[in-house]
């Protein structure tokens, strides 16, 4: 065992925890299994009070296999593959997020460079930032008159703040020595921004971007539950209405996996822009 590296030990332990966890879960289910099937039957026949049972992991695994082997099927508005649903969610997240980044990063630069801009905009930021993104939803639906665009707007508004604040903070914190290097080399303002300030502030900016994408992915599920139609959030809600708990658990896991992938992309970006002084 001594020969095993720390990472391998950790990986083995993770697998062990997973297996034991699933076994315990599986073992505690059998009594309910019948109930689950009955409930589905009752539901189909429209009779009885539905009492859903929690499905065992084997069933979730089966569901995952079934869904992931054909993720992009489209059989009408209420029956689309998990790939299509996740695709819609990612599309909304990335659109809202890209709009937010396009505004937050240049604006953050401005705020970080000029203390007047900072002082002028700070009160607005302080009031707008703590608002729950979903609180904007009714207003967005009323003004925009489009559920799709409203969901994107909610993503926009929730992901703008961490990027804005971190960019401003990172830019304001760039060491004067480095700016002086740019000055002694007579770099133009634009060149200084791109070759000195941006790389110097990049780790802080990317941290803000990483926080934002995490929040955006949290919010999209809730937003889609509200606006309906498509997306992973809607899918969860729809399967709950169908009392298909297996699908609910499966989609919860998928939300986690996609969130992790988005986060690790930014983790990778963070590592490429990192530097040690």
């Amino acid at each position: 065992m001594k020969a095993l590296s720390e990472n391998r030990k950790a990986a083995l332990l993770s697998i062990l925890i997973l297996v034991v966890g699933c076994l315990i879960w599986e073992a505690s289910i059998p009594a309910q299994k019948a109930v689950g099937e009955l409930t589905e039957y009752e539901l189909l026949t429209g009779g009885g009070q539905p009492k859903a049972g929690v499905p065992p992991p084997s069933q979730v695994l089966g569901k995952a296999w079934e869904q992931l082997s054909n993720p992009f099927y489209d059989a009408g508005p209420n029956d689309k593959g998990i790939g299509i649903q996740i695709g819609y969610s990612i599309y909304r997240v990335l659109t809202g997020y890209a709009l937010a980044a396009a505004i937050a990063i240049p604006l953050g630069f401005l705020i970080g460079m000029s203390s007047v801009a900072y002082k002028a905009l700070n009160p607005f930021i302080q009031v707008l930032r703590p608002i729950s993104p979903l609180a904007w939803m009714p207003l967005a639906l009323f003004v925009i008159q489009d559920s799709e665009m409203s969901a994107i707007f909610v993503i926009f508004i929730c992901s703008i703040w961490p990027m804005l604040i971190n960019t401003a903070f990172g830019v304001a914190g760039v060491r004067e020595d480095w700016v002086n290097v740019a000055r002694t080399h007579e770099l133009s303002a634009l060149k200084t921004a791109f070759t000195v300030i941006l790389p110097a502030a990049a780790p802080t900016i990317v941290t803000g971007m990483r926080i934002s994408i995490g929040i955006a992915w949290l919010v999209i599920v809730a937003a889609e539950m509200l606006v309906g139609g498509t997306g992973i959030g809607y899918y969860v809600w729809n399967e709950w209405n169908n009392l298909d708990l297996t699908s609910v658990i499966f989609s919860i896991l998928m939300i986690g996996v996609v969130g992790m992938l988005l986060d690790s992309m930014f983790g990778l970006l963070q590592r490429t822009v990192a530097y040690t002084e």
Partner: protein, 302 residues
Amino acid sequence: MAKSFLSIEQLTQRYPDGQGGEFTVFENASFGIEKGEFVCILGHSGCGKSTIMNILAGLAEPTSGVVKMDGQHVSGPSLDRGVVFQNYSLLPWLTALKNVTFGVSARFPNWSKEKVIEHSTAFLAKVGLTGDAIHRKPSQLSGGMRQRVSIARAFANEPKLLLLDEPFGALDALTRGTIQDELIKVWSDTDQTVFMITHDIDEAILLADRILLMTNGPMAQVAESVEITIPRPRVRNDIVEHPNYYAIRNHLVHFLAQRSAELSGQAQTPDQQPTPVRIDLTDDAETEDPEPAKPVLRAVEG
């Protein structure tokens, strides 16, 4: 009086003292530097050497007074004035080589990428950095190596005026010697002017044409301008044999140990230049009294 290549006129720097008042780092400092001259400035820590250098670089505005280079007002930094900062100021996300090419491509925007790299590599080699070290980031280099990258960046730009703030402070004696020789070579091959801050008296005597002496702050002044009357080329081990060496050295040590404190705090008259001091024992020339009874008010090299 003839205008010097670089003329510093009535420079005053005050800072808030943190208690609502002000303190004066130096007042009415005036001196000149000729083209091609190598000038060192000596003074105790905190007397305002780096402050003067930042003003010469155009990075800081003095409270009052002007700096002129080639008759032009210095207002803001320029590629004609290369700086080696006291804390190196390398960009930590760039490799050693890229830190130098950063400067070179700003200085010579028309050069091809290959030429920029070739030029930068050559200057890194001059300060003893070759091989894979030049592809490492500053955080992966030793303090002395970082300092050398910073020196290479300034040298590679071949500025008219080189401003060096304790450029060899973090180097061991051997490397220091090599780079001092390299600096002298670069300087004598060109018509560059060098203004260098140092704490090392022997280094100053070895390198400088003239040493400016600053009294202690606050209210520091550039009190004396000591000519180094030892002919070039100077060889590190041989100059100590020169009859003037210890006379000059003793004068400098005496100033720093005693007179820098005694003279401190005296306000300068607006046009006062540092007192020129020439110590030469070789041709029975008269040695100027290190402590003149009354200050000789005349321009440097007058």
